[in-house]
Structure formats: structure tokens, C-alpha cells
């Protein structure tokens, strides 16, 4: 059985080895880009059925951002929406025969978590200025400084490992079951994988929203603050 921790090199461009997850990611990126360009080429004020569906997707992403971050969704829509749609497609790409989801490898998840890490930094500095952002590390008191710094790194690591562990274990279990039993036995597990993939994509997006929001807004910390009852 091949280790889930190693990646296979598919081809080489000059001295750079290109691994399978990278190629799958490129394919997903190309598909998303093509779809977006063709879908948004003819937008009208009176949407047809197709455009209404697209608007529904964007609206629901917007409302999730509004609910979770308690902020206007416009600055975050591109990042959060892309993260969600890409993670979802990457998790579901195992349904295509012969394709292994890129999120089942540690490197892809680490890359996305690092994007979130720097995005939180960027939005935090943009919202409060450099001094204000650095001041969040010494809250509530100066003693918390090492813990706060450690937290910034450990939550990036835990996001990586969470997505990797969940998606990879799904792929791994299907592989094990397929090697034990016949053709149709893994199908219920694959159905479970669809659910897990969707939930993990959602959780990854919600967690990145929570982290970015906690860098932006000092009143909001990872255990989501409840809206005051109206």
C-alpha cells in the first residue's frame, strides 16, 4: 500500500517536478475559470434560470460571511468563496475515476491554510493598522503574548491537518475496502465521502472566516459571539 504522505511526480517541467495534486489543482482551476468566464459573459438585469442559480450561490456565500463575520461581505467574498468552491470541488474530485483529491495530500492543505494565515494578517493590518494589529497579540494581558503567537501557528497547522486527515482517511478507507471486497462494496463509503467532503469544505471556510474575523474585530473571538437578541 502506498503511503498517503508521499506524492507521486507526474511530469517534470525543466528541473521542477510536477506532482499529481498540482495537476488536479490546475484542472480544477481551469474548469472553474472557464465556467466563471462563460457564466458571467452575458449577465442581465432580469436573470434567467441559470443566472438566478448563480446568484443564489453568491447570495448564500454572502449571507454565511455576514452571519459568521458580522461584517459586510464585499471585501471577503472573493477569498472565502474561492476557498469554499475550490475545497468542495477538490474534495469531490475523488468521484472522477482515477483522480485522487489534491486535498488528500498535506501540501495542498498547508498551502491553503497558509493563504488563510496571511489573509488574516492582511485584513487585520488593513482594519486596525500595524500597531493595532500587533496589539491584539498582547490581549487580554501581556502574559498571553507567547500563547497568542503560538496560537497563530497552531491553528494554521490544525486547519491543515484537519482537512488532510478527513479527506485522506476517506480515500484511504475506500482503498482498503476495495482491496478487501469487490466492485460495489465501497459505494456507500463513497457516498459518505461526498457528505464528509462537503462538511469539511464548509468547516474549513467557516474556520478561516472566524480567524480572519478575529484578526479584524476585537469583539469577536473564535467561539462565535452570539448576536444580541433582538
Amino acid at each position: 500500500m502506498t503511503s498517503p504522505l508521499v506524492t507521486t511526480v507526474l511530469l517534470r517541467i525543466g528541473p521542477i517536478p510536477i506532482t499529481t495534486p498540482v495537476v488536479v489543482t490546475w484542472a480544477i482551476m481551469a474548469a472553474l475559470l472557464l465556467f466563471s468566464i462563460t457564466a458571467t459573459r452575458r449577465l442581465s438585469l432580469t436573470p434567467g434560470r441559470f443566472q438566478a442559480t448563480l446568484e443564489l450561490v453568491v447570495e448564500s456565500i454572502d449571507s454565511q460571511i455576514r452571519d459568521t463575520m458580522r461584517a459586510a461581505p464585499a471585501p471577503y467574498r472573493a477569498l472565502i468563496g474561492t476557498l469554499f468552491i475550490y475545497t468542495l470541488l477538490a474534495n469531490w474530485s475523488s468521484l472522477v475515476p482515477g483522480v485522487e483529491p489534491p486535498t488528500a495530500h498535506l501540501e495542498t492543505d498547508a498551502a491553503m491554510a497558509i493563504i488563510v494565515f496571511f489573509a488574516a494578517m492582511y485584513f487585520g493590518i488593513r482594519a486596525r493598522g500595524m500597531a493595532g494589529y500587533l496589539k491584539t497579540f498582547v490581549q487580554p494581558s501581556f502574559i498571553m503574548l507567547p500563547l497568542n503567537i503560538a496560537e497563530a501557528f497552531t491553528r494554521t497547522f490544525s486547519m491543515t491537518v484537519r482537512l488532510f486527515g478527513n479527506v485522506m482517511s476517506g480515500v484511504f478507507i475506500i482503498g482498503v475496502v476495495l482491496s478487501l471486497a469487490g466492485l460495489f462494496v465501497p459505494i456507500p463509503l463513497m457516498a459518505l465521502d461526498i457528505l464528509t467532503g462537503a462538511i469539511q469544505a464548509y468547516i474549513f471556510t467557516v474556520l478561516s472566516m472566524v480567524f480572519i474575523a478575529s484578526a479584524v474585530d476585537e469583539n469577536l473571538h473564535p467561539p462565535l459571539k452570539e448576536r444580541s437578541p433582538a
Binding site: 503511503s3 504522505l5 452571519d67 491537518v161 468547516i203 462565535l224 448576536r227
Partner: protein, 81 residues
């Protein structure tokens, strides 16, 4: 089969089995509490379920850490060359 291999396999099994117990109990309690809250206040089900998902993800991370340790022991064991 050398000793390191045998010990690694046992260690991986122990890591996953015992590492799954705590998060399983914790997730059960969390879901039960959330169900209770939703039954009391069905109108806040949206906020509750979103918070529940985030919390479950946090709890689940512990089990995933154990899984990753088991995988490291099995596939990337530093003592096996």
C-alpha cells in the same frame, strides 16, 4: 519482521483506538447539548448548528492528530530506513 515494525504497528493501533475514545465522547456530549438547545429554541437553529460544526471540527482535530501520528509511525517512521 524486526521489532521496530511490530512495535510501530501496535503503537499505531493504540494511538488511533485510544485517541478516538475521548473525541467520540466529547462529540456526543456536544451534539446532545446542541440538540437540547435546538429543541428549546428552534428559531436559533442556524446559529447553533454553525457553532456546533465549528466546535465539532475543533474536537475532531484531536482524533485526527492521533490518526496523523499513526500514519507517521507506519509510513514515515524515523527509525526505519
Amino acid at each position: 519482521m524486526n521489532w521496530i515494525g511490530i512495535v510501530s504497528i501496535i503503537a499505531a493501533a493504540v494511538a488511533v483506538s485510544f485517541g478516538a475514545v475521548g473525541p467520540a465522547l466529547a462529540e456526543g456530549r456536544a451534539v446532545a447539548a446542541a440538540m437540547d438547545a435546538i429543541a428549546r429554541q428552534p428559531e436559533s437553529a442556524n446559529t447553533l448548528s454553525r457553532t456546533l460544526f465549528v466546535g465539532l471540527a475543533m474536537i475532531e482535530t484531536m482524533a485526527i492528530y492521533c490518526l496523523v501520528v499513526a500514519l507517521l509511525v507506519l509510513f514515515a517512521n524515523p527509525f526505519v530506513h
